[in-house]
C-alpha cells in the first residue's frame, strides 16, 4: 500500500484545465520531486492534496484511507510554503508550537487567561515546550526561538517553517518551492539539509519545484508535470537519459537538449548522416530528433560532421557552451565541450558539427518518445 496515492485528479478554473487527470503513487519514506514550469498545475496539485482546495474529480488516498471527506487540519499533512507563511506576530518558538497547541489542547484550554486556569493544561504546555525545543535543536535554531519572523534572515525563517511542519510528525510532507526565496549559495546548502532531514525522519515527501537541478539532485524519483499532465515519473537518471516525452527532454538538462526536425521514411529516421531504424510503426512524416549538448562535438577543421558556424561561445569554467547554426538546414545546435576541446574555437568560425547518432532520441509528431533499434543507441557514460 502506497503512503500516498492520487487517482485521476482533475481540476479546472473557469474552463481552463489546470490538472488533466493526474495519478501518482508515493511509497513509504520516498522523496518525490514534482517539477515543471510555472503554471503547470503543480502548486494546485499540492493545495488539493493538503485539503486547501478541491479537485473536480479524482481520489486521494493516504495509507489506503480516502481523504476526500477529511478536512485539511485532520489529514495530518504538513506543508512548507514558498513564503514560509510564519505568523508575523508570534516568535519562532510560538510559531512552532501552534500546530501542537491546536492538536493537544482543547478548545477551552486554548482560551487566553481562562485557559491557563483549567486543570491539566500545564502538563500539556510543558510537553509542547519540550517538543518545540527538541525540534529546534534538530534544526539548530535554539537561539532563534524568542525572535519574531521580521527579525530573522530568509534562511532562518525557512528553518523555522520546516520546524513548524515537522514538529507534529505528519504522515505526508508537502513542500512548495521552499528554497526559491533563498539566495543561490544558501539554496545549494539547504538542499543537502532537507535531504538529510528527510532521511532521518523518513516521512514521505512531495517536493514541488520549478528548478530541474533541484529536482534531479534531491529526489528519489522525479515527476515531470507540464500543462496539467504528469508526463513521466522515474528516477533522476532515467528522466535525464531516457525521457518519455519531448517536453520532458526539453525541460530537464542545462543547456537544453537540441531538437532538430527530421523526417520518418519507411521505418527509418533520416537526418543527414543519422538514420536510426524505428522499432515502432510510424507514418511517414515529420519527427523530432533530440541530442543532448554533451553528445555534440565540433571539428575545427570542418573535415567531419555537418557544415556549420559558431555563433556564440560561453565560457563556464569547467565547460564551454558553443551555440552553432547548421549551414544546410539553418537549425541551431548547442554543444557542451570540455575547455581543452574548445581551445581553438572562436565565435564566427566555420566548423564541422558532429552529432553522435547512437545518442539520438526520436520523438513522434505529438512529442511521444519513439524507440529506435537496439545498437543504434548505447547507454551513455554517467554524466
Amino acid at each position: 500500500m502506497s503512503a500516498l496515492s492520487l487517482r485521476g485528479l482533475k481540476k479546472s478554473f473557469g474552463g481552463n484545465a489546470i490538472l488533466n487527470g493526474v495519478s501518482l503513487d508515493v511509497e513509504a519514506g520516498e522523496f518525490i520531486a514534482l517539477v515543471g514550469p510555472s503554471g503547470c498545475g503543480k502548486s494546485t496539485l499540492l493545495r488539493i492534496l493538503a485539503g486547501l482546495d478541491h479537485a473536480d474529480s479524482g481520489e486521494i488516498f493516504v495509507s489506503g484511507r480516502d481523504m476526500s471527506p477529511v478536512a485539511a487540519a485532520d489529514r495530518n499533512i504538513a506543508m512548507v510554503f514558498q513564503s514560509y507563511a510564519l505568523y508575523p506576530h508570534l516568535t519562532a518558538g510560538q510559531n512552532i508550537a501552534v500546530p501542537l497547541a491546536m492538536k493537544r489542547l482543547s478548545r477551552s484550554q486554548r482560551l487566553p487567561l481562562v485557559g491557563s486556569l483549567l486543570p491539566g493544561q500545564k502538563e500539556i504546555r510543558t510537553g509542547i515546550a519540550h517538543d518545540v525545543r527538541e525540534m529546534a535543536g534538530l534544526l539548530k535554531i535554539d537561539h532563534l526561538l524568542d525572535r519574531k519572523p521580521g527579525q530573522m534572515s530568509g534562511g532562518q525563517r525557512q528553518r523555522v517553517a520546516l520546524a513548524r511542519a515537522m514538529v507534529r510528525h505528519p504522515s505526508i510532507f508537502l513542500m512548495d518551492e521552499p528554497l526559491s526565496n533563498l539566495d543561490a549559495n544558501l539554496r545549494v546548502h539547504a538542499r543537502g539539509e532537507i535531504v538529510e532531514l528527510h532521511r532521518r525522519a523518513g516521512v514521505p515527501t512531495l517536493y514541488v519545484t520549478h528548478d530541474q537541478a533541484e529536482a534531479l539532485s534531491m529526489a528519489d524519483r522525479v515527476a515531470v508535470m507540464i500543462g496539467g499532465n504528469l508526463l513521466q515519473l522515474a528516477a533522476p537518471d532515467v528522466i535525464y537519459n531516457d525521457p518519455a516525452h519531448i517536453e520532458v527532454a526539453r525541460f530537464v538538462g542545462q543547456p537544453r537538449i537540441n531538437i532538430i526536425p527530421a523526417l520518418a521514411e519507411n521505418g527509418r529516421v533520416g537526418f543527414e548522416g543519422i538514420r536510426p531504424a524505428l522499432l515502432e510503426k510510424v507514418a511517414n512524416g515529420p519527427v523530432s530528433l533530440g541530442i543532448r549538448p554533451e553528445f555534440v562535438k565540433l571539428s575545427p577543421s570542418g573535415r567531419s560532421g555537418l557544415a556549420g558556424r559558431i555563433e556564440r561561445l560561453e565560457f563556464l569554467g569547467s565547460e564551454v557552451i558553443a551555440h552553432c547554426r547548421l549551414d544546410a538546414s539553418g537549425d541551431s545546435v548547442v554543444a557542451k565541450l570540455a575547455p581543452q576541446e574548445a581551445r581553438d574555437l572562436i565565435a564566427g568560425m566555420k566548423v564541422g558539427v558532429v552529432l553522435a547518432p547512437e545518442q539520438a532520441m526520436v520523438f513522434g509528431p505529438e512529442g511521444k518518445r519513439l524507440r529506435i533499434a537496439a545498437g543504434a543507441r548505447q547507454e551513455p557514460a554517467y554524466v
Binding site: 486547501l52 487540519a73 507563511a85 508575523p88 500546530p99
Partner: protein, 276 residues
Amino acid sequence: MNSIPAGRIIRFALLSLGALMILAPYIFMISTAGKTQSDIFTSSLSLIPQRFYFAENFAKAFAKVPMATLLWNGVVVCGLIFFFQVVVAIPCAYAMAKLKFRAAQLMMVLVMLGLLVPIHATALPLYVAFDRMSLLNSYTSLVAPFTISVFAIFMFLQFFRAMPDDLLHAARLDGMSELGIVARVIVPNAWPAVTAFAIFSVVAHWNDLYWPLIVVSKQAYATPPLGLMYFRAAEAGDDYGALMAATLIITLPLVAAFLLAQKRFVEGITMTGLKG
C-alpha cells in the same frame, strides 16, 4: 552655513500659511477662553487677552455645565460604537476578502451602496423606530445605528486582501477553524488598520452633533457637542468666554490623544501591508 534654496523657503512659507489658516479658529478659541466679557466685545481684535480670565471662565464652565457627564457620555458612546464596529467589520471583511462564497459579489455591491447613503437619509425612519421601541434618550439609540460601518468593512477588506493567502493556508493546516483564524491570525496582524480606523470613527462620533440632537433630549445622555449646545442656549446666553472654555475642555481629549499616539496613527494610515 549653507544657504537654504529659495524653492524650499517658498514651500515652507506656503505650508506654514496653510497650517496657520487651519489653526487660526482654534487659536482664537483658546484666546477667547481667556478673555473677560467686555474684552470679547471690544471692536479691536487682539489675540492676547487684556486681562487673563482663564481661571474664571473655566470655573464658570465647570459650574454651569455637567462636564464630567458630557465627557463620560462621549467616552461611552464612542467606545461602544468603535467596539461594535470592529467586532462586526473584521469577520465580515475577512469573509469577503478571503473566502469564496456565492453572495460575495452581491455583498460587495451592498457595501458600495452603503458607502453612498449618509445617515441623514435614514435619520427619520430610524427616529421613528427608536421612538416606537421607546429607546429615545438612551445609549442604545446613540450607538445602534453606527454599529455596522460599511466604511470599516471597506477599509479592512482592502487591508486583508493584502494579507498573504499562504498564511491562512498554514493556519488551516495547523488546525485552526475560520473563527480561530480571525481571532489568532487576522486580528493580531490587523492593528495598523484598526488604529487607522479608530481615528476616523472616534473623531467622527465624538464630534457628531446631528444624530444625538435627534435622539437625545435629556442632559443625562447628551454627548459633548450636544451638551455645549444646551449650555449655549439655556445657560450662558452670550457668555462666550465660558462657552469657549467649555469647548476647549471638550476638544482637549482628542487633541491630547492624537498628540500622544501620533506616531502610531501615522503608521496605521501609511502601513497597508504586513512586514514579512
